[in-house]
């Protein structure tokens, strides 16, 4: 199995020495363990969902996969080679879209292609193709502020797919959207995944979203984040199913994950509370630096 892995996460640890921006550092100079011994194999073309309570280090893991930070120990392999930094072989979709507000939709999609060194004409054609793929033909020349949240996220997905990464990393991409837009985009994402055959690592705190999208779901513990269990979601084709969410198997899996996650969520909330209290006890300027999200 190791040989056919697209991404291998092996014994990855990550700790933060201090939190940036706060002044009462000396008291809590001991490192905060964000991730502890993470092991995960993701196959070529697989849709892997990572679900966990807030503050469990999901986003830290994603930053590591993106190559934006380096693991304290352990390694992450892409096609058997260690990840050494950010690269266009991985595309990221952020919760807050991260579109460049001074660029039109199509120029945003072209951004990664530009970084890749693709010529002007080809760039435009590729960008157009991916805008059509995410169903936003006709909106090419709109600026981000002229688009709805759902549309922005479609453009962000198009931007990440356009430069043809090996792996698509998605960090709670639908969390900021309203429920209906979210469901539409979830099924759209499945369609896009089937059309492109990309390997996707999708991070969420939504259990239903995880079961609906993932071929496998990895459940993380509260901090320090570990992989508690990886569960197979054995639906053949999600998109042919009329109302998958009310399918008894779906409900059963959702409940199973909920059982696994329940304790972690309450522990995470306890951690957050005590941390906030500590920060208050130590004096001023607490609230903001206290909560590390993700």
């Amino acid at each position: 199995m190791t040989t056919e892995s697209k991404i291998s996460i092996r014994h990855v640890h990550k700790a933060f020495g201090i939190q940036r921006g706060s002044k009462q550092l000396k008291a809590e100079n001991q490192p905060v363990y964000a991730l502890q011994d993470i092991n995960l194999e993701v196959r070529q073309g697989e849709f892997m969902v990572i679900v966990g309570p807030s503050g469990c280090g999901k986003s830290t893991l994603l930053d590591l996969l993106a190559g934006l930070t380096k693991p304290g120990s352990g390694q992450i392999l892409l096609d058997g080679k260690a990840i050494s930094g950010p690269n266009l072989d991985r595309g990221i979709v952020f919760q807050q879209y991260a579109l460049f507000p001074w660029k039109t939709a199509i120029a945003n999609v072209e951004f990664g292609l530009e970084a890749k060194g693709v010529g002007r004409k080809e760039r435009r054609e590729t960008a157009q193709r991916f805008i059509d793929l995410v169903g936003l033909g006709g909106f090419e020349h709109r600026y981000p502020h002229e688009l709805s949240g759902g549309m922005k996220q479609r453009i962000a997905i198009a931007r990440s797919l356009a430069y043809d990464p090996e792996v698509l990393l998605m960090d709670e991409p639908f969390a900021a959207l309203d429920a209906q837009t979210r469901e539409t985009l979830q099924s759209e994402l499945l369609r896009i995944w089937e059309a492109t055959g990309k390997t996707i690592i999708f991070i969420t705190h939504g259990i239903e979203e995880a079961v609906y999208l993932g071929q496998r779901v990895a459940i993380m513990t509260s901090r320090p984040g570990r992989i508690k269990r990886v569960i197979d979601i054995p639906f053949e084709s999600r998109r042919s199913e009329e109302d998958l969410r009310s399918n008894p198997d779906f409900v059963k899996l959702r409940h199973e994950i909920w059982e696994l996650l329940k304790d972690e969520v309450s522990r995470a909330q306890e951690q957050e509370k005590s941390k906030t209290l500590d920060a208050y006890a130590e004096g001023r300027s607490s609230a903001k630096g206290g909560v590390r999200h993700g």
Binding site: G91, I92, P101, W102, K103, F111, A115, H145
Partner: protein, 278 residues
């Protein structure tokens, strides 16, 4: 003159024919709203001196001021003084841009430097440029250099502070997103930091534009033999009161034009920005 102002916006825009009349009335209403206070003020200026409430010698009616302005224009004095002032303020302003923008970008990018320098820069900004005019005159003499230097000084700090804060406040998520696409530091700076900081930089550019004129006029009143500030001062000393007012009006109009031009440039460069209101 006033009529011309009212008519202008009507010609400037107007896209398709549908609801043309409605748009024309809306524009006319806006033009009225924008100009009514000014027109009232000018009318009062015309009438009040004639009724004898104030002394006509010190406060001539507006029409006399316009006459004096026209006289100055025909004699060529106005153009000479305007040219002298503009040369100084534009040189100082452009020099300030050349220095402050690259410097501000560098300081803003290097956060530690920004943290150390900001209090100092705030202090310099709040040191009124005119208060140190004597220093400039002592060091640089009464010539053009000291005047350009004072404009440079007055423009420098708003530019510098706004550029720094523009760079510092770039949404870190945009930086993260660009970095995840493997951008080098140079292209990150060019393609993300600078465009993202541009709106804030323009706040500084407009402040600098305004102060470059204000400060210059005051400097010209203290020690100069040309320029609009000198014109006003000289007219007052020579008891050419309508001419003095003509100089003052010229400065007001110049200030408005400069602000308008910078605003137009800003709109052009940051047309992607969400515009509130109008």
């Amino acid at each position: 003159m006033a009529e011309g102002n009212v008519a202008k916006p009507l010609i400037l825009q107007g896209r398709n024919a549908g609801g043309a009349l409605e748009r024309v009335t809306a524009k006319a209403r806006r033009a009225f709203r924008n100009s009514v206070a000014i027109l009232l003020f000018l009318t009062a200026w015309e009438i009040v001196p004639r009724t004898g409430i104030v002394n006509v010698t010190f406060f001539p009616p507006f029409s006399e001021v316009v006459n004096a302005w026209w006289g100055l224009l025909r004699a060529g004095d106005l153009q000479d003084h305007l040219a002298a002032s503009l040369t100084r303020s534009i040189s100082g302003f452009l020099l300030a841009n050349l220095i402050a923008i690259p410097l501000g970008l560098a300081i803003g990018w290097w956060k530690t430097a920004a943290d150390y320098l900001n209090p100092f820069l705030e202090l310099m900004r709040n040191t009124a440029a005119l208060a140190i005019l004597p220093v400039f005159i002592l060091l640089l003499g009464l010539g053009e250099t000291s005047k350009i230097a004072i404009v440079l000084y007055a423009s420098l700090f708003p530019l510098l502070l706004n550029t720094i804060s523009g760079v510092k406040n770039v949404d870190p998520l945009l930086v993260k997103s660009a970095r995840s696409m493997g951008l080098s530091s140079v292209s990150l700076f060019r393609k993300v930091i600078v465009p993202a900081a541009l709106p804030t930089m323009f706040v500084g550019i407009r402040q600098a534009g305004a102060s470059s004129i204000l400060v210059l006029v005051a400097a010209e009143m203290v020690g100069a033999t040309s320029g609009l500030g000198y014109l006003i001062q000289y007219a007052q000393f020579s008891f050419l009161i309508p001419q003095m007012y003509a100089g003052i009006i010229t400065i007001s109009v110049l200030g408005i034009i400069v602000n308008y031009l910078l605003l137009a440039l800003e709109r052009r460069l940051t047309d992607w920005k969400q515009t509130y209101g109008e």
